[in-house]
Symmetry: C2
Subunit: 231 residues, 2 copies
DNA sequence: TGTACATCAGTGAACGCGCGTTCACTGATGTAC
DNA sequence: TGTACATCAGTGAACGCGCGTTCACTGATGTAC
């Protein structure tokens, strides 16, 4: 919608780019992070990659193809971040879930362009991306199952659904508000990274302890998981 | 980015529209809800309002002016929703905070176009809108102060900051995920409204009870608020 | 109640622009022999 | 090791399109007298 003067394109010495595919993806992520999906354009991405507007077609077909690939990388990356968090949590189920949550927010902060794309745009209708999404959020679900000791296949109780949606909501909301700059009121610039590192873990820990109390009290959640092996 | 054939414009009998200003705002919200900010165009809004592309300029100056007005309404509406929730909560500080949270999510579900606009786009640089945002989220902050019995002016303790960011995150994340269709895995179509009505209150209640426990334990939070008059 | 006229709200054609995509092309790379 | 040639990766001009905004205009409304 808004017009801007394009930044100077980077001239190139060789005819072939070398790694245009990766450059286009990087430029897309940067552009999305700067201007959001409404500021995205294939020509601008080509410009930033120092390449003619027709070049991207050789790698991604069309604009949708490029965005779909960035979205695919987003789900792949978030899945990896959640699984790494889970591993980092060690032998305590609550710690594993907490570290998944920290991984979720950390991924969003490191890849704002990718993260935003997962939750907006028409890519939501793409069935392969829907499957990727299910895979990603399935890691969180397994974390909650792990926490409550509910094996795959067994349906979750209402209180356990509530726990899953709650953990997801709290980390997602934190990430989205932080990226939208809504925490800037409380901490400007460099302080924000510190906010992430100090406030979030405590906040999550507290939230999760609430889940443990519920698990202990609820008749439909047979046992709070306590200490078990990491997956 | 994507081109679509425009829906048939609604023809009009009279030369003057009657209430074009309101019609443009409604059309903008609907368009934002359908296609997001990247699908917004002033011409499409004019088309849907059955009016020539030049007509909106008489009411809003330019495209930015129209979006800014919708954003202003968004902050005004969310402020009202939070305050109504607070009043609905009655004499219990925890209930007041919980009802604020339910109001937050309910507003988002009823006005997806407005809600999205508050957290994306370049309107974030507009200083009057920033003030409106501070006013809106200040209601949440007052709710937390109320809960912990911390008068305005007194700085919040770290644990109380954590509580504020946590409540905000959980309701915001819930709203954003629900609007992004990410809960569709668990509940399709009509069930989603039910999900809102049953899962969210329990989830919030549980989260808030965690905050109460912290308040009772932490030395920097002098007293859990218990029962006090609603503001 | 009627009339002159200022003001307001909308028209529709026109403008220049950036966009996505196409096309015939060309430079560079790699492979078969 | 050298050469012919297919394949690959990028060019740049061109296309048609929808966009936001402008402009001179006109129909409708409301107000002064």
């Amino acid at each position: 919608m808004v017009r801007r003067t394009p930044p100077a394109p980077a001239p190139r010495e060789t005819y072939h780019h070398g790694d245009l595919r990766a450059a286009l993806i990087d430029a897309t992520e940067a552009l999305l992070a700067e201007r959001g999906l409404e500021g995205f354009s294939l020509r601008e991405v080509a410009r930033r990659s120092g390449v003619s507007p027709a070049a991207p077609a050789h790698h991604f077909g069309d604009a949708h193809g490029l965005l779909a690939e960035v979205a695919r990388l987003a789900f792949e990356g978030l899945t990896a971040a959640l699984e790494a968090g889970n591993a980092r949590g060690g032998s305590d189920a609550l710690a594993r879930l907490r570290e998944q949550g920290i991984g979720y927010v950390d991924f969003a902060m490191r890849h704002p362009g990718r993260f935003g794309l997962m939750f907006q745009g028409e890519l939501r209708k793409d069935t392969t991306l829907l499957q990727a999404a299910n895979g990603t959020f399935g890691v969180l679900e397994r974390g909650v199952r792990d926490f409550y000791g509910v094996p795959a296949g067994t349906p979750l109780s209402p209180a356990q659904w509530q726990a899953l949606l709650g953990v997801w909501s709290v980390v997602h909301g934190y990430a989205h508000l932080a990226l939208a700059g809504r925490f800037d009121l409380f901490a400007a610039g460099g302080q924000r990274r510190q906010l992430l590192q100090t406030v979030l873990p405590g906040l999550l820990q507290q939230h999760l302890e609430g889940l443990r109390a519920v698990a202990a009290a609820a008749p439909d959640a047979p046992r709070p998981a306590g200490r078990r092996r990491a997956r």
